[in-house]
């Protein structure tokens, strides 16, 4: 199997790696680059725990090949806070206790960030459908939806 050399940008930094042709971006992030914030809950695009943003588009990194990242810009949970300044979504998730076990949280935060970028004032229904690709088994989603609503309000005010 011939390795593929990839030059890409991750959270604003230039990154180069060699990966196998069938290796997913999720595997590259976790196993080659040590970015374990994206989680594998299913490996088939059904849970959203591995969500990342590639060239401004929300995707499941388990459904992207590492080779495909060539020349792209990838955003992961590790790049969401600015230094010690949490993103408003991160802060609101903490304040609302929008996480219990926390395994789905990185995926939810990335998906919510994408949602608010496209729709800064979503209704409850828009939030619920916008986040339907992210499974949470602990919270019943109530506090997650409230945290996103609250973060949206804060971000509009900012």
């Amino acid at each position: 199997m011939a390795g593929v050399a990839v030059s890409t940008t991750i959270n604003g930094d230039a990154v180069e790696y060699l990966c196998q042709p069938d290796e997913t971006l999720l595997e590259v992030l976790r196993d080659r680059l040590g970015l374990t914030g994206a989680k594998e809950g299913c490996g088939t695009g059904d849970c959203g725990a591995c969500s990342v943003i590639v060239d401004g588009r929300l995707v499941c990194s388990c459904l992207v090949l590492g080779a495909e990242a060539e020349g792209r810009e990838v955003e992961t949970i590790e790049g969401m806070a600015h230094g010690d300044q949490l993103h408003p979504l991160q802060q609101k998730f903490l304040e609302h206790a929008a996480l219990q076990c926390g395994i789905c949280t990185p995926g939810f935060l990335i998906a919510a960030k994408d949602l608010l970028a496209k729709n800064p004032s979503p209704t409850e229904e828009e939030i619920r459908f916008g986040l339907a690709g992210n499974l949470c088994r602990c919270t019943g989603y109530d506090k997650i939806v409230r945290a996103v609503q609250d973060a949206a309000n804060v971000m509009k005010g900012a």
Binding site: K39, E40, G41, A97, C101, L135
Partner: protein, 754 residues
């Protein structure tokens, strides 16, 4: 240890507030490390070969080709996990479930495993292992398995709990019975009797994090295991016993856990990872795929339940009876027993009888799932209770209030209740605005009650006071949903300091004494008791140090609001010493200050919940949407109310999924048809409404702060609440869970055709 656990009725400063959890930032930044997020030098990748057959004799396994593949460092079969269980039947079952010994007992049963330099090589190696199976007839349905002509899963099983040992083996491992009074006499007094049979399908806990571990066994017999688990001390015991290791030489570290709900309460692949590491001489990481989680971890029972309840015209229940059959997978369990105990626990009954049958089937080994066995029994009982209320012409809530258990009632499972919350939850529901909200066409409202015991158990905690006056709290119960925040609050409360001065961590098995796992809603109940005890022990030392500083008798020093105070007029000029002051001087007053506790947290308080649910049913498709949901539950005392609400909401959501769409679907070939989140349909965000909660606080007399468990009860009422709501919306009584659209549509069509 001289610890007084009785409820004191004190006023709280920290307990009951809602601070941010200590592990929060790690979890929103992706830094928190879960089972699969840890690596060791030289680590190999482990993978497991699983049976494609539901029931088959393993005649021969040839691993020679796999062993020769470049990059493969170890291949194991059951031979590499010799039986060291010494007659311990439960441990033997866990061993056999980890790696099939003679027979594969379900689709997904492990038969061999490899460790290789990478995942691709490991996958290739699995394909090179040749297993010669003799396929046997199988049975996956609980009712079919209970028939005398069903394929026998284990010919050594003779039903226990019968007056005489049966002549022939069967798939029924045990019969259990509970109750009191005379149900025949009771039914004779009844004016109305409702009798029905119900089925519920098998569901999975559905935690988003697959089982994952990194195992490292050294040649000198020491070993490390990093693993996502609800109980690392229990995993240590299991693994040490199965691998022949000395418990104290096996250090188990619990990673952050990405959900468990009962499914991570005993070992599955961990002994395999350790055996691979031992054979390969290198660390091995083993992570289950989602497919493996569904096929080969521990889902809950499928059930078949008959319920009969009789009442007088005035609404008094005269007798209640239930027969419950629960599937256990291919190994003995006690799941019907719990169902038989919980079934009628909400009610005051003169005459009650429940009988449970444990049934073996060719499905994965049943594990606990949040208030295990109770939701199915409650579904059957609360459906019949609703129907009986209708026959009597009584309001569903009033009928339940009339028959609700109270302090002094003999429970249906035996003991007499102390102060309990079923009555108050029903009264709260009766007065809740949700009950009066208008409904539209095709909408219906249902309600139902639920019960769970709550557990205590062995618990050990260390509280260390740093020289800067901050407190580190080491607990041994795994934090599954925010307990580090709750326990930090408890430490702050007892010491009289601010929450921000305390940080709780979960210690590994080498750093703390034994702790039972986080199950049975015991985490906060038990560890808060141990934390209070540890804090009181620390306070004793703090008082001694203050007495020493002041050179007065320790009896004259009291601890109030985080300060040592010299009591008595003669000490009028001594200003109080804060915890920080005493800590700062500790190096010169006797060294580090710490409080330890080891105890058995017994006396857990039972808990009750009543739920209200509105649904809308599409009569043309059978599609059901939950449009409003309210949980009312007794917490005893809500230490961190936000996380208590979270438990209520999460349990309700899981119950909603179970009620409407989640089920294990087996083909005629005995293979699981839907081992993935695509077709095992747990609720998504757009499926649910906000879930309102109301926390009642009826103190548990056996805990200093009145805490009961809160984690599990909330999954008990939803199945019945939704079934009752569907019945009220479209007039069909659903007796088969999940109430999937095809089942509801078929019931509606049958109703229309009369």
């Amino acid at each position: 240890m001289n610890f007084d656990p009785r409820f004191s009725g004190r006023k709280f400063a920290s307990v009951g507030t809602r601070p941010i959890r200590p592990d929060g930032i790690d979890k929103v930044t992706g830094r928190a490390r879960y089972g699969a997020d840890f690596n060791m030098a030289g680590q190999l990748v482990g993978r497991i070969l699983r049976s494609p057959h539901a029931h088959a004799v393993i005649k021969k396994i040839d691993t020679s080709k796999a062993e020769k593949l470049a990059g493969v460092k170890a291949v194991i079969t059951a031979k590499d996990l010799p039986d060291l269980t010494d007659g311990d039947a439960a441990m033997y079952d866990i061993l056999d479930n980890s790696m099939a010994r003679k027979k594969a007992l379900y689709d997904g049963h492990a038969v061999a495993a490899v460790a290789a330099i990478d995942a691709r090589t490991a996958r290739e190696a699995l394909k090179l292992i040749e297993v010669d199976y003799e396929v046997l007839p199988h049975v996956t349905d609980v009712d079919e398995a209970a028939q005398h002509h069903a394929p026998l899963i284990n010919d050594q099983v003779f039903t226990e709990g019968l007056e005489e040992k049966p002549a022939k083996p069967s798939n029924i491992t045990k019969r259990t019975q509970f109750g009191h009074g005379d149900v025949h006499a009771g039914f004779a007094q009844a004016d109305f009797i409702v009798e029905r049979s119900f089925k519920t399908e098998q569901t999975h806990q559905g935690y988003i994090e697959p089982h994952a571990c990194v195992a490292s066994v050294n040649p000198d017999g020491t070993a490390d295991l990093w693993v996502c688990t609800q109980g690392h001390f229990v995993y240590r015991q299991h693994c040490a016993q199965l691998l022949g290791l000395e418990a104290s030489k096996l250090r188990v570290t619990s990673s952050e856990i990405g959900g468990g709900f009962g499914g991570k309460t005993h070992v599955w692949a961990e002994p395999v990872a350790l055996a691979l590491s031992r054979k390969a001489g290198r660390p091995v990481k083993l992570v289950m795929t989602r497919d493996e989680v569904f096929r080969a971890s521990g889902p809950t029972s499928a059930t078949s339940i008959d319920v009969k309840i009789g009442a007088k015209k005035d609404g008094t229940i005269t007798a209640a009876e239930a027969t419950l059959r629960y599937s256990c997978g291919p190994y003995a369990g006690s799941w019907a027993e719990i169902g038989a105990m919980t079934a009628f626990a909400c009610y005051k009954l003169e005459n009650v009888k429940t009988v449970g049958y444990e049934v073996l089937v060719n499905r994965p080994k049943t594990a606990a799932y949040r208030a295990p066995s109770a939701p199915m029994a409650a579904f059957a009982v609360e459906s019949v209770v609703d129907e009986l209320a209708k026959e009597l012409g009584m309001d569903a809530v009033d009928f339940r209030i009339k028959n609700a258990a109270q302090e002094g009632t003999r429970s249906s499972y035996g003991p007499v209740y102390g102060p309990i919350g079923i009555g108050p939850t029903l009264e709260a529901v009766k007065n809740h605005p949700h009950m009066k909200a208008p409904l539209k066409a095709n909408q219906g409202r249902g309600m139902a009650c639920g019960f769970w015991f709550n557990f205590g158990g062995q618990t050990c905690t260390d509280l260390n006071i740093g020289m800067d006056g901050t407190v580190s709290l080491a607990v041994g119960t795994v934090d599954v949903g925010g307990s580090r925040a709750s326990l930090s609050l408890v430490a702050a409360e007892e010491l009289g300091i601010d929450y921000s001065q305390v940080k709780a961590v979960v210690a590994d098995t080498s750093s703390l004494g034994y702790n039972d796992m986080t199950d049975g809603s015991r985490g906060t109940f038990s560890s808060s008791m141990a934390t209070i005890s540890a804090a009181r022990n620390a306070i004793k030392i703090l008082r001694e140090r203050a007495a020493q500083t002041w050179d007065i008798p320790v009896e004259d020093v009291v601890w109030e609001k985080g300060h040592a105070i010299a009591k008595g007029e003669k000490y009028g000029n001594l200003s109080p010493l804060s915890l920080k002051d005493i800590a700062a001087a500790s190096g010169k007053t006797g060294g580090p200050i710490a409080g330890h506790s080891e105890l058995v947290a017994d006396g857990a308080g039972v808990s009750f919940a009543t739920h209200i649910c509105d649904v809308e049913v599409d009569p043309e498709t059978g599609s059901t949407r939950v449009i409003r949901y309210t949980v009312v539950q007794d917490a005893g005392k809500a230490v961190h109310p936000t996380y208590v609400e979270g438990q209520y909401q999460g349990g309700a959501a899981q119950g909603i999924g179970w009620a409407l769409n989640e089920e294990y679907i087996y083909g005629k070939d005995g293979r699981l048809q839907n081992p993935g989140f695509l077709d095992y349909r747990i609720p998504v965000c757009s499926d649910l409404p906000m879930i309102d909660t109301q926390i009642l606080e009826i103190p548990n007399p056996n805990h200093p702060y009145g805490v009961r468990g809160v984690g599990e009860t909330s999954i008990v009422p939803p199945l019945a609440a939704i079934a009752n709501a569907v019945s009220n919306a479209v007039g069909v009584r659903m007796t088969h869970i999940p109430m999937s659209p095809p089942r509801i549509l078929a019931a509606l069509e049958a109703e229309r055709e009369g």
